[in-house]
Structure formats: C-alpha cells, structure tokens
C-alpha cells in the first residue's frame, strides 16, 4: 500500500467517523424554544442597546411599570400594581408596585424605580432623557410606592416615561458611582460590560456564546407567573430559549423548514411566503406595524418650499401601485403620519391625494394644481384638447426654469422597497415635467445629508417602529426641531401647528388630546412636508409542531405576551 493510499483511507475514515458521530439533531433530548435572529445583539447593557436584537433579548429580562397589551387601547400595569394615581395638582403621580423579585432573589422595591429614573436624569441618557427631563422629583415613599412630581402636566408621562425598563439599584449602583468619577461619565456607563443582567422578566440569561447563540432559562421568580394580566394568564410555560444567529434570510428560511428553529424573529420578505406555505407545519403571521415610510421634501429652499408643488407631487405618487408591485400586496397605503393600526389616534378623514385616479387623471390633477399656482411649461403635460403628453421645460411661478431635483433613497441592498419606490416616483414626477432623479446613497451618508447638513431636495426614509403615543408628530414637525440633527428634517415651520403641538403635549384629557392630534394630522396632510407612502406588514413565520400560543398584536408576534404564553404542543 502506497503512502498516498494510506493517507486517502485515513481521511475517509475520519470523514465517516465525523458524520457518524454528529448526525443532525444530535442532542434532541431537551425541548428548548429555538428562535432565529438576523444579527447578533450588540450589547446586554440596557442603556447602550439601540438595536432591535439587543432590545429583543433584553425585553425578556428588564421590565417596565406599564406596557401595551394586545387589543387594549390603554396601558396595562405590568410591574405597577394599578394605574398611576394623579393628584389634583395634575403634576403629582403615585404608582403602587406589585410584589416582585429580581432574578437573584433580592426584592424589587420602589428604590429601584427611583434609582432608574434618577440615573436617566443624572446621566442624561440618550433616547430616555427626553422622556424624563420634565420630571422634577422622584421619591420612594415606601418599599412599594413611588411618587413622581412633574414640572408641568405632560401627556406622555404614562405612555412614554413610565414604560422605560427598570434596572436593579444593586446591579447599577457601583457602576454609576464609578462612572461619575470618570472624565466622560456617560461613555463609562455605556461601556460597562454586562454579563448576567439582573431582571424581573420571564427569562434570565444563562449564557451568551458570542457569535453563536444566547441561552435563556425560565425565571422562576418572574412576578407575573400564574397571574392574569391584560386578560391573559402568564407563564412562562417554556423552560428555556435558544437564540441562534443566521447571517442571511435564505439560510434562516431553510432552518425554519428543516426544524432547526421554531421562529425567525425578523420580518421576512414577501418573496419567501409562497415557498413557506407549502410546509403544513409552518404558519405565517402577517401583522400591522406601527411604522411610517414616506417621501420628505426640503421646505427650506425652492422648489419644494412651495406647497402647491408638494401637493402636485402627492397627486402623482401612486401609492397603491407601490404596494401592489413593490410590496407584493403586503402593505397598506398611508395618508397620515400616524399608522392606521393606531386606531385611537389615527385620523381617518384626511385628504387622500389621487385616490382611485388612473395615471392620466393623476397627471391632469397635478397639472391643474401647478397651473393654478403659476407654473408654466414649454410643453405642458396636458395639451389644449385635454390629452396627456410628455411634459418639458417646467418653469417656476417666478419664471425661472426648474432645475433638476434629486430624491435621495437608501441603496437597494439596504432596503429594496425604498430604492425602487424612488425610481418609480422619479418617473411619475417627470410625467408632469418635474425634472426629478432618484439617487441611492449609503444609509449613514443619507442621514447625515438630510438630518445634519440639510442639503437635499427630497428623500425617502422610514421609521420602522413608532411608539403608539403620537408625540412624534410634534417631534417631526415642530419648528423647534428644525436644527442640526433635529427630527424636523423637512424644515417645516407653521406657528399654528406649533401652538397645537405644544398644547397637545400638555393635554391630559385623552379626548381633548385626540382632537388636537387629529388637527395636527390635517395640517400635515394639507401642507405635505412629508408625503406618507406605505406601511409594510410585519410578516413572520413560525413552526407549529413544537410550540403553540403565539400572541399576535401590532408589530407582530415577537412580544413579551407570546413568550409568557407559549407552551409545548405535547
């Protein structure tokens, strides 16, 4: 036997041994719930976590005082024992807490709540501070009661402030003390490495094997266990969860079909649905989202500083076409900045630009608006006989030729829907003679151009997850936020809107606030600083052969209610 033959045989033997020793489903004695993630979480530090995957993991651990429940308009008490009691002065609130324990066995007390809120205020923690800066005093009245005194009445206090995750004073006291001594305290707080977060939620982290998986186990000390909250009996009824990471959706879908995961915790593209539907053990959930995808205009300079031009553009954009062709039907048109699924705040009586019009009718409608506003063409889009024709040489009301305008979009590899929508809108605007061109740009660069430099004509962006409280209307369009890195990216200024927005922020009566929010939506629909385009649906797929009990609500099935109610099929 030659050396070469010996080597070949040895290699073959090794390969066979490996295959024999490692058949698929090697360790199948346990029944963990297996969830696929599109990316690894960035961090377990709750203050640093700004990505969806970190927040998904941490939402099993850190809990808020109040949260939204499926089918409920109002917040339900979670770590709180009941609704907050508001004093007659309108600025003092008292919250009673449920009896609960941290996952290390120590008692959850009002001191933890007060510590968390003070920490946010002291370190001015980004993304949280704006929701707490109007709170003047936070006191732990006794072990189970917290008192908050606000500087002035604030409508978002319950829905936005009392929904922050509460951390344990024991876990963070030393970290905060050490951060205070640093030159850059906030950076020090952010850079603190959390290995085993201490929480009050239904699961505790057992291990994070970086780059591979996260292992969570049922928290036997979960305060909600056996309780009925929001009309649901809470578990958890699952002993452990394994979060696995998949670099591409293609492989994640194979994993789902093969049974390597029970759920893929990331919205899936409509293109996968047909194939997944052929597998009887896979169920697809299509849920409403609280999101907004829109075309934004720069109102600080011509030509989009003219509302007539923006209305004409709104008339030309065929939202239904985008939903049917680009989103393959998995979405709905948006006419308000507030998604229609947010039923309490959504104003259903807004101007629906171009609804039910065909292409030619849209061009005629846009032509009428522009002509009335003083625009002229070398060759108008509609001739004297009313026939639609290619438009050329659009002139502004002042007589000057309209220069080309650019619609900035994220690139197709980041979001194909927005990139293709940009191309379609470019063509539609050109039909009325508006010399538009769509330009995909790296996401970070696009945001810097739009948000920091304000150097753009129009852009297509989106908010993937909007809060249910509509305070973002004020943040997007109040003139106070038209500054570098402010969220009023269009540069919209309207004293009437500002006044209503300021009043809405402080209106405690829900019905009165709703009227103001309705009015704000009307003003925005009329002035069109943003043209809402579409609201994609959240499509999620799960296997039904091992676990049952997924709870569908706005934003899909990946929520705490599902994880508290899921149970093994057998």
């Amino acid at each position: 036997m030659t050396l070469c033959t010996k080597i070949n045989r040895a290699l073959l033997l090794i390969a066979v041994s490996v295959l024999w020793l490692c058949p698929p489903g090697w360790a199948e004695t346990r029944q963990p719930l297996r969830i696929g993630l599109g990316e690894e979480p960035r961090t377990l530090n709750i203050w640093m976590a700004s990505d969806a995957n970190s927040n998904n993991i941490l939402s099993q651990i850190y809990q808020p005082l109040y949260r939204h429940a499926p089918g409920e308009t109002e917040m339900v008490p979670w770590l709180a024992a009941g609704p907050p009691e508001m004093a007659a002065d309108g600025v003092t609130y008292q919250v009673r807490l449920r009896p609960a324990r941290w996952s290390d066995g120590s008692a959850f007390t009002a001191a933890d709540v007060a510590f968390t809120c003070r920490l946010i205020k002291e370190f001015k923690i980004p993304r949280h501070y704006s929701r707490w800066k109007f709170v003047d005093q936070i006191e732990a009245v006794d072990d189970r009661t917290v008192r908050f005194i606000l500087k002035e009445p604030m409508a978002i206090f319950l829905t936005r402030s009392l929904t922050i995750p509460i951390v344990s004073e024991k876990e963070w006291r030393e970290v905060a003390a050490s951060a205070r001594k640093q030159k850059k305290p906030l950076a020090s707080l952010f850079n603190h490495t959390v290995k085993r977060p201490l929480g009050t939620g239904p699961f505790v982290l057992e291990k994070w094997h970086k780059g591979a998986y996260l292992h969570m186990k049922k928290n036997d000390l979960f305060f909600g266990q056996g309780l009925r909250i929001g009309g649901r009996l809470l578990g958890p009824f699952v002993e452990e969860i394994l979060f696995k990471i998949y670099g591409t959706s293609d492989v994640a879908m194979l994993a789902l079909k093969k049974g390597a995961i029970d759920m893929y915790w990331q919205g899936i593209q409509p293109g996968y649905i047909e194939n997944l539907e052929q597998h009887p053990e896979i169920r697809i959930f299509s849920s409403e989202r609280s999101a907004l995808y829109y075309l934004g205009f720069n109102l600080r300079k011509p030509p989009f500083d003219d509302p007539a031009l923006r209305r004409a553009a709104a008339m030309l954009v065929d939202k239904s076409f985008i939903i049917k062709r680009v989103l393959q039907g998995y979405g709905s048109r948006m006419d308000s900045i507030i998604p229609s699924g947010n039923e309490f705040w959504y104003n259903p009586n807004l101007t629906e630009y171009g609804e039910d019009l065909n292409r030619e009718q849209r061009i005629r409608a846009a032509y009428r608006i522009l002509k009335q506003a003083g625009y002229r063409w070398t060759q108008p889009p509609v001739d004297d006989s009313g026939k639609v024709q290619p438009a050329e040489g659009l002139r502004l009301p002042g007589g000057s030729l309209m220069e080309s305008v650019t619609i900035l979009t994220p690139p197709a590899d980041y979001d194909p829907h927005r990139a293709i929508s940009g191309l379609l809108i470019q063509q539609w605007l050109r039909q009325a003679g508006i010399p538009a061109s769509s330009r995909p740009m790296a996401f970070g660069a696009l945001l810097q151009q739009v948000k920091a430099r304000h150097d753009f004509d129009a852009f297509i962006l989106g908010y993937g997850r909007l809060s249910l409280d509509p305070d973002y209307l004020r943040i997007f369009f109040h003139s106070e936020f038209d500054r570098e890195r402010g969220w009023n990216m269009s540069g919209y200024h309207n004293p009437e809107f500002d006044r209503i927005a300021e009043a809405s922020e402080k209106t405690m009566d829900l019905e009165a606030r709703r009227l103001r929010i309705y009015k704000m939506q009307e003003i925005i629909a009329r002035d069109v600083p943003y043209l809402p385009i579409y609201l994609p649906r959240e499509i999620e797929a799960v296997r039904t052969d091992r676990f049952t009990g997924w709870v569908q609500m706005l934003e899909g099935i990946g929520n705490i209610w599902s994880f508290c109610q899921l149970s093994p099929v057998n």
Binding site: N45, F190, L254, A445
Partner: protein
C-alpha cells in the same frame, strides 16, 4: 546570518515601519472623511439633537481633527485601540474573540487548497495534453471562477438541507454546547462538523489557483537542464517529478500561500456571512458600514501589520529555499 542578510532585514524593517505609519494615517483620514458618522445612523425619534451632541462629545468626535489624530497616535503607541462605538466593548476583546475563528477556517482552507492544488498541479503537468490534464485544468478554472455566495448556498442546500449530513450554518451547535453532559471531544467534533461545509466551499474556490500556478511552474521547470540530467542518470519518473522538479516549481506557490495566509486573518465577509461564521471579516464590514472607527481601524491595522510581516518572511523564506537568491 550573513552581514548582507542582517542589513537587508534592518532595511526592510525600516520600510515596514514607514509604510505602517502611512497606513495608520491614511486609515484615520479615510474613516473621518467618509460620509456619515456613528450617531446619525440612530433613527429613533427619542434621540434629540442634544442627545446626539452629547454622544458625539462622549465619543470624542467633537474635537478638531488634528486633536483626534494626536489622541489616536498616542493611544496606538500605548497599545490602546479604544472602545467599539457599536458594541461598547474594548476593540482588542472583540478582535481576540473573532480572530481565532477566522484563522481556524481560512488558514485550514488555504493549507488544504494549497496542498491539494500543488499535488494535483504536479500530477497533471506530468501528463500534459492527456485527458486528465484537460479535465482537471477545466475543473480548476471553473471552481476558481465560481461566485462564492452562490456556491455556498448551493452546498448548504444540498448537503445541509436536502441530504442533511451537515448543520446549516454557524460554528457550533447551541443544543450541544448547552448540554452539560457534552464533553470536549463532542464539542470539538461539533466544530469540525460545522466547519466542513465552509471549508469545502473555500477549498473549491481556492484550490484551482494553486493548481494552475503549480502546473504552469512545473511545465517551465520540466524544460530545465537538470531535469534532462536526471533523466540521463536513469532516475524513474516519480523521483524526477517529486524530488527534482516539484521542489523548484513550488517556489511561486510558496509566495502565493504565504501572502494568502497573511490575508486570511481578514477572513472573507461573504463566506462568513453566508455560513454565519463568527469571524473577523464580517465584523470588519459591520464596523465600516456602522462608522465604528475604533474597531475598523484596529482591524485594518492588524491586517496591515500581518501582511507586511508576511511579505518579509516570504522573501526570507524564498532566499532560504532557493540558494541562488541573494539579498
């Protein structure tokens, strides 16, 4: 070591230091001049302009560029690579966590591809013009030009999903590694099991280039006088091929393998993404796209240092293996 070699090494070390300093500076400038910054990507209406400004100050990005550069140089000289903006973790920890995985997969695949490529190149060059030469050469060319993500997905679909011999992706199986009864051997075999498909993919993509280089080099060598002499001495074909031709023909392959091994530390973003292999390549792409300057800079500096050193080592190795070469 002769005086000449010593002088040569010192000269090269000086050059390397100079080039490294240039790379250090260019990297700093490239990332700062690229559009976007780590804060503008945060699309959250709760992030106020004041929050964004505070974050910029905390990250030290509010300072004038020259000041940032001096801090960067000072930190580099002190061996501090900073904290990742994206993970809030020391950059060195992230790199040390990812690098072994990359080295394991990519170094193994390069060595395997080089070994098989050299071996097959040697064989087919000896049978030039015969059917085996034609088919193996065509096969090598086809494999070398395949689009890696496509090949990877096909391999995953066939061997992991359809036949089910291998796990779909990843480096380890969560079920096994969370099983308290799983021992070291089982965990080691689990890694090998997961490594099989990415290794096969990388092998298929790379072995062709080594084969073609070796074949071409062997064909040149066969025309040399010492091969004719060996034949005249009456040596058998295998001895001429393995002892006389192959060692001389392998020199270009050594250069190629040396540099490939050096570059292997940056992994391959595509391979690591499709196979969800937790390596440095994927991290590098994330770092660049997320404007995570400390992580991206440190990763590129590491690659630069290894590649520059590998160049020197390959040159010295070349002189050692081929006594005709003198510096």
């Amino acid at each position: 070591m002769t005086m000449e070699i010593r002088r040569y090494i010192l000269g090269r070390l000086f050059q390397i230091t100079l080039i490294f300093f240039v790379i250090l500076t260019v990297l700093f400038l490239l990332f700062r001049l690229a559009p976007g910054d780590p804060v503008s990507r945060m699309v959250d209406p709760n992030m106020t302009p004041e929050d964004a400004q505070r974050l910029i100050e905390q990250l030290g990005l509010d300072l004038p560029m020259w000041q940032q550069y001096l801090i960067y140089l000072e930190n580099f000289l002190k061996g501090r690579f900073g904290i990742s903006f994206h993970y809030g973790q020391p950059v060195s920890e992230i790199i040390l966590n990812r690098l072994p995985n990359t080295i394991l997969l990519f170094t193994s695949s390069i060595l395997l591809a080089a070994f098989v490529g050299v071996f097959l190149g040697k064989i087919v060059s000896w049978k030039k013009g015969e059917r085996i030469d034609t088919w193996v050469t065509i096969g090598a060319l086809v494999c070398h030009t395949l689009f890696l993500p496509w090949l990877a997905l096909i391999i995953i679909w066939v061997f992991a999903y359809w036949i089910g011999w291998f796990p779909l992706t990843g480096m380890i199986s969560a079920e096994i590694w969370t099983d308290p009864s799983a021992g070291l051997l089982r965990k080691g075999l689990d890694i090998a099991h997961h490594m099989a498909l990415p290794l096969i993919t990388l092998f298929l993509i790379h072995f062709g280039s080594y084969l073609l280089v070796m074949r071409s080099s062997m064909l040149d060598t066969l025309r040399e006088d010492y091969i004719l002499t060996a034949r005249a001495k009456g040596l058998d074909e295998a001895t001429i091929r393995n002892r006389h031709a192959a060692p001389n023909a392998a020199l270009p392959v050594i250069t190629s393998v040396g540099l490939s091994l050096a570059f292997s530390i940056n992994g391959g973003a595509l391979t690591e993404t499709v196979f969800t292999w937790p390596g440095l390549g994927r991290e590098l792409v994330f770092a660049v796209s997320n404007n995570d300057y400390p992580l991206a800079q440190a990763s590129f500096l590491l690659i630069a240092a290894v590649v520059l050193t590998a160049n020197l080592v390959v040159d010295l190795l070349y002189a050692y293996l081929d006594p005709r070469i003198r510096y």
